[in-house]
Amino acid sequence: MSNEPQGLNDAELEAQDGEQLPDREQMSLINANVAAPVNAAVAANVLSDDAVAIANAEQDATIDQSN
């Protein structure tokens, strides 16, 4: 019994399907809009005894963008 890979026969080749690529101009369109709100709260005690640190950050952001 041979382990060599077998090629596709005519029927299998016929069954293969593909899709036409879009025009190059369409492929190069890039939506460059960036919306990256950052919200952070950091509380830290470093070499501190009986100490309390509280941080609270709140952000409301609605960012509508269009090209």
Binding site: A53, Q59, D60, I63, Q65
Partner: protein
């Protein structure tokens, strides 16, 4: 040893965040938009330091990089108390391509025994179809919110309950700031809605 590693990591994190947000004015050269930076560093034993800043500003450029930062630090002292609050509303009027706004509250005790440190930051960002500016009445309301925010952080604190009360009072002022801006936009023929993001952290030692 384990505690030492943890402290080092916390220090690095705090410094990195402080450097990132503290450097906003320099970064703003590549973008634009107002920055509201409220930073209070307290190094005097037993002292109480506090500050609040409230800002409402339009931005009409292509790259919005406004930063709102409340940073409170008690350092190298005993029994220090430090409060900072920053509230900012930014309305983007120029359909910007890039919006990289940042909001941060940073509270740190560094080599500080029995210290209480509190930071609160609120940022409201909305886009509008055309230029909008605050009316004299709107500006007056912003000044009034500034005055009351300063009064909130000027209150003494000695427990977590006090900080919870500060949160509630400042959140009410933040809602008032948002309503003021929304009201101004409605008057100018715009509607405004927003998504909310919240981050909160507390540390006791």
């Amino acid at each position: 040893m384990h505690t030492g590693r943890r402290s080092t990591a916390l220090t690095a994190t705090a410094l990195a965040l402080t450097a990132t947000f503290g450097a906003a004015p320099a970064n703003a050269q590549t973008g634009g938009g107002a920055n509201n930076l409220v930073q209070v560093v307290n190094t005097a034993g037993g002292a109480f330091a506090h500050r609040a800043g409230v800002q409402a500003a339009p931005y009409g450029g292509d790259s919005a990089q406004s930063t709102n930062l409340a940073r409170a630090e008690s350092r190298d002292c005993t029994g220090c108390t430090t409060h900072a609050a920053a509230l900012q509303a930014v309305f983007l009027t120029g359909n910007p391509d890039t919006v990289q706004v940042a909001n941060a509250a940073v509270a740190t005790n560094s080599a500080c025994s029995q210290c209480l440190t509190y930071a609160y930051a609120f940022q409201y960002v909305i886009t509008t179809e055309r230029a909008v500016s605050l009316s004299p009445k709107g500006q007056q309301r912003i000044h009034d919110i500034q005055r009351r925010a300063s009064a909130v952080v000027a209150q003494p604190s000695d427990s977590l309950d006090d900080f919870a009360a500060f949160d509630a009072q400042l959140q009410a002022l933040a809602a008032e700031l948002r309503d003021t801006v929304d009201s101004e936009l409605r008057t100018a023929g715009h509607a405004a809605t927003a998504r909310s993001y919240q981050a909160r952290e507390s540390r006791s030692s």
